[in-house]
Every structure is written in structure tokens, then in C-alpha cells.
Subunit: 461 residues, 2 copies
Amino acid sequence: MSVFKEMDRDALAAVAKEWETAIAERRYADFRVEVSRYHESEIAEIFECISEEYESRAFRLLTKEQAAEVFLTFDPDRMERIISIVSDAELANMLEEMYLDDTVDIIEEMPAYVVKRIMRNSTKEDRASLARLLRYPKDSAGAIMTTEYVRFRPEQTVEDALTHIRRVAIDKETIYTAYVTDKERHLLGIVTAKQLLISPTDTLLADIMEEHVISVTTAEDKEAVAMKFDKYGFLALPVVDAENRLVGIVTVDDAMDVLREEVEEDIAKMAGMSPAEVPYLKASVRSLFLSRVPWLLLLMISATFSSTILNFFEAALPAVLVLFVPMLMDTGGNSGGQASVTLIRGLSLGEVSGRDTLRILYKEVCVGLLCGLAVGAAAFLKVMLIDHFLMANPAVTVSVALAVALAMLVTVLIAKLIGCLLPLLAVRLHLDPAVMASPFITTIVDALALLMYFFIASTLL
Amino acid sequence: MSVFKEMDRDALAAVAKEWETAIAERRYADFRVEVSRYHESEIAEIFECISEEYESRAFRLLTKEQAAEVFLTFDPDRMERIISIVSDAELANMLEEMYLDDTVDIIEEMPAYVVKRIMRNSTKEDRASLARLLRYPKDSAGAIMTTEYVRFRPEQTVEDALTHIRRVAIDKETIYTAYVTDKERHLLGIVTAKQLLISPTDTLLADIMEEHVISVTTAEDKEAVAMKFDKYGFLALPVVDAENRLVGIVTVDDAMDVLREEVEEDIAKMAGMSPAEVPYLKASVRSLFLSRVPWLLLLMISATFSSTILNFFEAALPAVLVLFVPMLMDTGGNSGGQASVTLIRGLSLGEVSGRDTLRILYKEVCVGLLCGLAVGAAAFLKVMLIDHFLMANPAVTVSVALAVALAMLVTVLIAKLIGCLLPLLAVRLHLDPAVMASPFITTIVDALALLMYFFIASTLL
């Protein structure tokens, strides 16, 4: 087999079909040869296309390396199905192939009876590590770290280190960063494989190790840990306990997973939904419904305030004012959404924090005034040109246009302020700022915009 | 210096202050010793806090390694300022320390006269590579790749390879993945440093190389390239030309940068803003204004349709109907936003594509009906309980409540359909689906919701 490009979905389905045929015709040797032509990550993708009827037989024909790799890409349902059909020996083989942090991820998704089987079929050593890893809070560095790293003592030489790496590399998640500790496992420094390769073999690790090491503690939030990878470009980050003793490492691939999950969670919350656990096409109608309906109901009920305000002013003010309510509400919502989304992302990325509140307020007041002036002026022109002249609506007077324009200005400004203050307030209250996005802001801004509108109109008209 | 935790902003500012004092008092040796106690990534952070008055002197006191690392973290303005004050020799030193892909990133941000100086001070070899790299389209794999990788021939042994790596490692962006090519540079396979370390020294690379290599072409979109890192967990990915000849590699740190930028761009567009180039606190009021006002104006003008519809029906129908317009519009906007954001992210992540349109439609019709029924029922109860009984508004009859409830159901359903169809349509038209998010959908759904509402009301009442 030679180098190839990524396969598209049709190609994957075609291969899956071939494999199914081979199994159906009991040509198991053919199947194995066929499978060996692909990379593990591709075998996993082809397995996505294999029907439930054949998946268990196909899976049991894989080598233990292939099986472990493919298994990790399954969704929880499929994992559970597969674990229920493989023998204890097969399960033990697969677990032996996996890194401990991956096993932890699986265990966290599985029902208790499956967890028991996994624990029973792990080696004694792994079982102890798994039990320890499972004790860390779900969103902490401890929960995403692996305990399979390479560790040296400062008095060892480069040659010792390389010999050791040759012996243990196959079981370690990364050998490209090794950790130097004292007898009590206190982290002293790191040496990279690059450093080891370019240094004379009799050099002491103490002389070449990098002592400026950024480390994280087991309790640190996994999102904060992942951001450090993004910021510093690490391949791995050491995790220490409260006494600065090395207990594990987090690798860049896990950090990327965390970052992706967090972004999707933020985006879902910003759009007023619960974060999805599975890709859209795999999500059931029920789960989509449940993730969306609570916010719709909550926000609909909150809109009662707007109705009440409308009701209150309707009798007292000219009916023509109602014409511009949709325009005012939409602009307010959009304007607030812009500010809140900017702030929410800034907070997520650690670019801004609560202590910047005054600077943020100043900035949003300026931006809000400028946007408000532009939008207000445009609204005045629009009302005059279209409603007053073009449609010749006699009720739309210059005063009405002026009231609409002023209400626009004030609404945009208020929307910007609320849009930036609510996410900051959420942080202060230890809530996720992402829920303070457009849908939520819109509801509040709507009510305020209507109030300002009618107040301005009753003064002017 | 021993192992330490990440510094917070106060600590960084305090160190910056000390450094400034050392420079002001001309204690340059002290400054150098102080600086050497920190990791390059920290020096960069401390430089963030150094005032413009001291930055050029502080910068010129750095070693060339420190200078290169720190320079890369500067924003374009600061880069330009620094380049204008360093000597040609200092610039050449700094460029020598940098990887070519970083130099390309800098060049793309700088005005022409700075680019000329950079080119003039690069080595002849680098100049040729830079010119080649700069020819690739800005968003292609070619533009983010580096040409500094390790390349072998299949007939070389592990020992040859390790000897070569020892010699060249210092100049290469990664040595952890090396590439095996034939004489014409056609990519044949990859060998990892791990593989090299654990294999007997006389093994031929042809025997241990991984031939199942996922590669990308120079023209491929950088976002698609970055997604492959996320999907497969690579540390580096080879880039080939149209004849499958290896021309460069993309490394995981660059892929993470691309992913982050793309996410921020998507989120900004979804909130109806132009993507920001700089972090929020550094963005000028003018740039924030310009990124936000066009969408506000466009959407405000589009809301004219809603006003026109309101205007048309206002005379013909009971005034009480207007009370529920805000609730209807908000719910429609939120409902459509949920669907569109889900689809936009699915498209961005490659989880759904245009060919899934029918499946998506089916799903959204089901979800829309369920959400519509729930929200409609809640609306009916809300109008009856609050407006009819509690506030005892005589105009709010059971028929009105029924009209509102029915309009809610239809609005939610239509919003879901428009929310999922517009992003798919955008892809078909080769537009960015991210602009088809809440603000845009809201405007369309508003007009349709009002139409349906008045149509239903005029039938029922």
C-alpha cells in the first residue's frame, strides 16, 4: 500500500460493504488481509459504516491493536454492545493496548456492570491507577491526565535515559517529553527527546533539563489546562499534586478534545440550547427537542413583560408607534447580542476578566453611542423616506420619526451595556457567562427598549 | 530557579516594573540575569506589560533566542516598531532563530518596506523558501506549512537516521516525525522518533516506516487541514504537491492556531459581527464600531418588512393582537437561531453536508413540531391564565389565546425549517454558512411569523 489521501464517505461505505460480504461468505483470512491495508484511524471510519448485524463478528476479527484503536472511536452505545460480546480475554487484551486516560474516559460513559468487567480484566497495576484517576472531579486536570509518562532522576545520564526510553516507549503515551524528579517524585525539570538526541551520551540530565516548567495541579479546571497548550504550544503538560509531586501528564491530543468540547458547549449555550452529546445526525429527535425546548419556554414566558408594557402604553399613545416595535426590538437584540458574544468569548479565552469591568464599560459606552448614532440616523431617514414620503402614512409625522430615532439610539446603547454587564455578572456569581447571550439578552433588552420608546414618544408627541 | 506555576497579571506587571527600573538605572547586566530566570513564553508575557518607553531598549538586551520567541508574540504594530529600531545584524539573528512558517506569518502582516528588510536580512536559502511559501493562497495548507522538516530515503538505516537527526535537529520544527521519500521527493512513508528509538540500529527505514500516511495538498483549505489534527491526533501532517512530492509539513501548534481563529470567526459572524483581528481589550473603539455597525444597519432596514406587515393588518384586525407580537417574534428568532447554529457548527465540523438535506429536514420538522406543540400549549395557558384571568383584559378571548397558540406552533416550525435550510443554502452558494445565524434568521422569521399570525387570527376571529 502506498501513500493516500483521506477517503470520502462513499469510499468508506464501499469498503464497509466489501468487508461485510467477506464476513457473510466466511472469508475471514481475506477480511484480515483487507483490514491490514488500512490505517487504524481509517478502519475506525469504515467501522462507522458497518451494519450492526456484522459489527461484532468484524470486530472480533481485528488484531488487538486495531481493536483498541477502533473501539475508542465508538459512541457509548456501541462500546457497551461490543463489551457485552467480547470474551474476558479479548477485553483484557484490548485494555492492555489502551492508555489509561482513554480507559478512564470509557469507564465514565459506561453503566456499572460494564465498569466492573473492565476493572476485573485490567492488570492489577492498571486497576490501582484507574481507581486513583477515577477519584478526580470530572472536569479537572486529574480526570484527563494519564499516569503513563517517562520519569528520570537528575543524576541519570543521557545514555541511561535513551536506554530506558527504548525499553518502555511502547507503553507510554508520549516519550517526547520526559520528566525529571527527585526521590519523592517532586518535579525538578523536563527533558525533551530532541534534547536527549542532540546531547553527548554522558551528559547528566541535571545539566540539560529545562527547569522552567509550567505545571498544573490535579484540581485545576481542564479547560484552563487546555488553554495553556494553545498559549504555549506544548506537546504535554505535567500535573502535580498539592506538594508539587508529579502524578501524571496531559497530552496535546486530549487538550484539543477539551478545547473542542468547550467551544461546542459555549456555542450551544449562546444559542439557548443544552450542549449536544453526539453529532447532529446521530442525535435523536427526542434529545434535540429536550435540548431546545426549555429555553424556548423560559424565554417565551419572559416575553410577558414586553406584552405588559405594550398593553399599558397602547391605550395612551398613538397606534402608529406600534409599527416600529419589531424594528426596535430586533435592533436591540442584535446590538446586545454583539456585545455579549464578544464578552463571553473574551472571558472564555481569558482575554478579559472581571477586573476589566470599567475599561469594558467605557469601551461599550463609546461603541454603543457610535452605533446608536449611526442606527438612529438611519432609522430617521428610513422612517421619513419610506413611511412618511413613499408610503405617505399620514400618522407618521416628523415627531414620530424623531421619537423612533431617539429610541433607537438609547436602545442600542442600553443593549450594549446589558450585553457586556450580564456576562461579567455571571462570572461574579460563578455562573457560566455563555448563557448570557443573545436569546437571554434579547428578552431583557426588548422590555427596556419598549419602555424607553414609549417614554420618549410620550414626551415628544 | 525551580519549577513554578503560571504567573497572574499582577505578578507579570510587577516583574515588568522591576525590569524597567533596571533599564532606567542602566543596570543592564542585572536585567539580563533577571530575564534569564524566566521561560521564553513568560518573558513574552512580561513584555506585554513593559511600556513603550522601555520596550526597544529592553528588547535589544535579549539574547537572540529570547528575542525571536518574544517577537513572535507581539501584535503587528509592535512588530513594526521593533523592526524599525533593530539593526540589520540583530534582525538577521532573529530571523535565523525563527522557523520559516512563523516568518511567513510575520511577513503577511507587515507593510512592504518591512517585508523588504526581512527578505534582505534572511539567508539566501531562506529567502528562496520564503518566496515560495508566500506564493500559496493565504488560507491554504501551503501558507501555514514549514519547509524545515527531516527527510530520509527508504534505504537508510535507523543509525543513519539518528545520526542525521542529531546533526540537524536544532534547525527543524519537529524531529518527532520524519518523512521517507524517493529521489524525486515523492512521499513514501513516515517514521516517528519513537520508532527510531525502539528499533535495532541496522534496520532499514523501508522496513519500519508507516506507509499508511494521511497527507494534504498545498492548495487544501487550512481549516480542513487543522480538522485532521483534531480527528486523528497527529503531531505533524505532510503537505504534498499535485505530483505527491513532499513540499512541507504542518505542525500541531499551527493547526491549533487555525482552529482557534476559525472558531472565533464563526462565533463573530453568528452574532452578526466582522471577526476581530485583535483581543477585545486591545481593539480600538473605531474597529469595534466598524465590525458591528454594518449588520445592525442592514438588519434594521430589513425589519421594514415586519413594519409593513404590521401596518397592513393593524387596521383590519383587533388591536389586542399586537400585545403578543413581541412574544411571537422572540420565540421565532430563538427557535430559528437554535436550528441554524446547530447546522452551522455541524457544517463547520464536517459532521453534516449538503447531501444530508433530506435527513436534516425530516429531523427539524419533527423537532419543530414537538417544540411548536409545547410552546403553543404553554402560550395558550399563559395567555388564558395571565391575560384573560389574572389581568382580566376583556379583549383577550379564548379565540385570541387559540390564535396566539396556533401562531406560536406554526412560527416555531417555520423558524426551525428556515434555520436549517439557510445554512445549507449558503454552502450550496459557496457562502460562509456562519452568517446565516440568529440575527439574519430572526429578521426573516419575524416577517413570516407576523404574516402567519395575522392570517390565523383573521381566520379565527
